[in-house]
């Protein structure tokens, strides 16, 4: 049994080399697999990855056939699912969560003829690439709006204290404090990515304690909905959440994976795929901002547009010095900016964060 599988994969690999490129056509489409960490119906992280898959499928038409597995736990189960996708004939596999990094690496080593794309991790191989999104750029734009529209206290419903989330809180606060030097961000950790009830409880606590705008780094639309019900403003996360709070939503940070999926899948079909490690942001269109909500003031809109354009042009760096930490000690000197490496290890809060 095992030998037979081995033989088949060896033949496939040999055949592929022989053909030079694995050209796809309608009769024999190029197969692409996706592994999702949550349900597609989460309206957040996994939903957006699936939107990317659908956009890619639409763009490339009959040349590709895609397949996905949702709700895959970030443990031993992931490796089994990835192996199944390999044996199902998928030639390119996207694994869309940090916890899939090690399982993907193990399968990639065993299946050199298949190409792997792993989201938000940091390990690459000749047949395994990494991709990530500069979500914090979107947070900085939201911060500019909040600085103009808040009286000074904003609530932030956060998931887990990992660098990505800390980076978002800091980028948001830094941008807001450029407008209002007394700006405060109150953070509540809910220790979950997805629990609408608890996210909503946290949102209510923040409003009761004086927050007039809510930001979130969790996946459900509960925070925006609570903001709408209580008559305060909020920022959506992952997908455009304005339908859950028409008046409340100022904008949403939208993860747009489509350009990357289209680009990389095309390269794989033509045989030009090479391993890489990319971190795309507003400039490349991976981070998008949903249309400004009707409540956004003229002043805040101008500031947001300006911030978005300058980040895209590279003239505004969200983490440019001087940056002080919570205790007031200078962490980044004037004229310097934090490197990508430093950002990915961020474990301290900037001045103005209450966490």
């Amino acid at each position: 049994m095992q030998r037979r599988t081995l033989l088949i994969s060896a033949t496939t690999a040999f055949g592929a080399r022989l053909a030079g490129a694995r050209r796809a056509n309608a009769a024999n489409p190029f197969k692409v697999g996706f592994v999702y960490v949550g349900p597609i119906g989460d309206l957040g992280w996994t939903y957006q990855h699936d939107q990317g898959r659908l956009a890619m499928q639409k763009e490339l038409g009959e040349a590709v056939s895609t397949q996905y597995v949702e709700n895959v736990g970030e443990g031993p189960d992931a490796e089994r699912v990835i192996r199944q996708l390999v044996s199902g004939g998928n030639q390119l596999i996207y694994t869309t969560s940090f916890g899939y990094m090690n399982p993907t690496e193990r399968v990639a080593k065993a299946s050199p003829a298949v190409e792997f794309e792993q989201a938000t991790g940091y390990k690459t191989l000749p047949n395994m690439a990494e991709y990530n999104s500069r979500f914090y750029e979107g947070r900085a734009v939201c911060g500019a709006i909040a600085g103009h529209m808040s009286k000074g206290v904003v609530g932030y419903v956060a998931s887990f204290p990992i660098p990505e989330v800390v980076m978002g809180i800091n980028a948001f606060t830094l941008a807001a404090r450029k407008v209002n030097p007394n700006f405060q961000t109150k953070v509540i950790w809910v220790n979950t990515w997805f629990d609408p009830g608890r996210e909503s409880d946290a949102a209510k606590s923040l409003i009761d304690q004086g927050a007039d705008i809510l930001a979130q780094h969790t996946d459900s639309p509960a925070v925006i909905q609570t903001a709408e019900a209580r008559g305060v403003f909020g920022f959506g996360q992952s997908s455009d959440m304005s339908r859950f709070g028409e008046k409340a939503t100022l904008t949403s940070i939208v993860d747009n994976w489509a350009p990357y999926y289209i680009d990389r899948t095309k390269l794989a079909i033509t045989g030009k795929w090479k391993t890489d490690s990319v971190w795309w942001g507003i400039k490349e269109g991976m981070v998008q901002l949903a249309p400004w909500g009707p409540s956004v003031t003229e002043e805040a809109r101008a500031a947001a547009e300006d911030s978005k354009n300058r980040i895209a042009a590279g003239t505004l760096l969200p983490f440019a010095g001087p940056i002080k930490d919570q205790k007031g000690a200078v962490k980044v000197a004037d004229g310097k900016a934090m490197s990508d490496d430093e950002l990915l290890k961020m474990n301290w809060y900037v001045e103005g964060v209450q966490a």
């Binding site: 119906g41 950790w189 220790n191 009830g197 996210e199 909503s200 209510k204 923040l206 009761d208 859950f244």
Partner: protein, 309 residues
């Protein structure tokens, strides 16, 4: 000012306790009849999605609440057929029911993700809600909140003071004896399981209609399991279930508040653990001695019953 905060705090506690209270009370009845149904989470999700769909389609909260109870009871009926009629293992069937309910609710809700419905309106009880402090504190919630508290009282009364309640307990304590004096064990257990399912459905729909009026897959996020634990820690007593649900809700909300107020220098992971610890601790203490709590478990809990002869 502090009064306002207190009112807001209590309102949040109530919304976080009510779904647990419904589900745990229903499970309590099933367990007192000797049936262990681990499918709470699945039945809650079925109730949540059925309530939400009905609300979205008809706009009637009464119909939505009825649909949620029916959906929970329908899954419970399936559980009953498998475990009571076909005598399948209750633990395995209950776990399967959770998985089934999760999948079924996701499937049923596919076209409803992303839609919103108006939240259940608060009932402003005429005179009472006008009382200065007490009014907003106690008398301005939606109908389901009052229903859950009334249900706790009614169940306590039912189990202790009525003949039917005593028969139900007898079936849970010694099915053979109850059978031999002529009670229909299987029928009584069916009714208890169906009631448990309906209550779990109500708990689920509180989430999708009142607490966060939206439908997202798996939105119960483990509350079924917490409700299940509450029943055990409450020693199968309705008033303690009520106290436990409010205690759990209260400590959960307090830890969120204390983070927001910023004077707690404790890692948030410890704070997140705190509601569970506090609930276990208090309920262990009030059940006065671990032995008594063990003794108060219905003797036939989880055991299949086959009528002799």
């Amino acid at each position: 000012m502090t009064g306002d905060i207190l009112v807001a705090l209590l309102a949040t506690v109530v919304t976080s306790a009510t779904p647990l209270l419904f589900a745990a009370l229903g499970e309590l009845i099933a367990e007192r009849a000797g049936v262990l149904n681990l499918g709470l989470e699945g039945m809650m999700l079925a109730g949540a999605v059925a309530g939400f769909i009905t609300m979205g389609e008809t706009g009637s909260d009464t119909l939505a609440i009825c649909a949620a109870a029916l959906a929970g009871a329908a899954l419970a009926l399936l559980f009953g057929v498998l475990t009571l009629t076909l005598v399948a293992n209750q633990v395995a069937t209950g776990l399967a029911l959770t998985i089934f309910g999760t999948g079924l609710s996701s499937l049923a809700g596919v076209n409803f993700t992303g839609r919103t419905v108006p939240a259940l309106p608060a009932l402003r009880l005429p005179l009472l809600s006008g009382i200065p402090v007490l009014g907003p504190l106690l008398f301005r919630y939606d109908a389901l909140v009052y229903l859950s508290v009334v249900a706790a009282a009614a169940i306590a009364w039912f189990l202790k003071r009525t003949r039917a309640g005593m028969i139900l307990r007898a079936v849970g304590e010694s099915d053979i004896s109850a059978h031999s004096i002529g009670h229909r064990v299987i029928r009584i257990r069916y009714l208890a399981v169906l009631f448990g399912g309906a209550m779990a459905g109500l708990g689920g729909c509180y989430l999708s209609l009142a607490s966060t009026p939206l439908w997202v897959e798996q939105m119960t996020a483990g509350r079924g399991w917490i409700a299940l634990a509450l029943v055990v820690f409450a020693g199968w007593r309705p008033w303690r279930v009520l106290a436990g649900a409010y205690l759990f809700g209260g400590v959960t909300v307090l830890q969120l508040y204390s983070q927001g107020s910023g004077f707690v220098a404790v890692p948030t992971q410890v704070l997140a653990m705190f509601p569970y610890l506090a609930t276990i601790l208090v309920l262990t203490l009030i059940s006065s001695g671990s032995a008594r709590s063990r003794l108060s478990a219905p003797a036939c809990l989880g055991k299949p019953f086959l009528a002799p002869g």
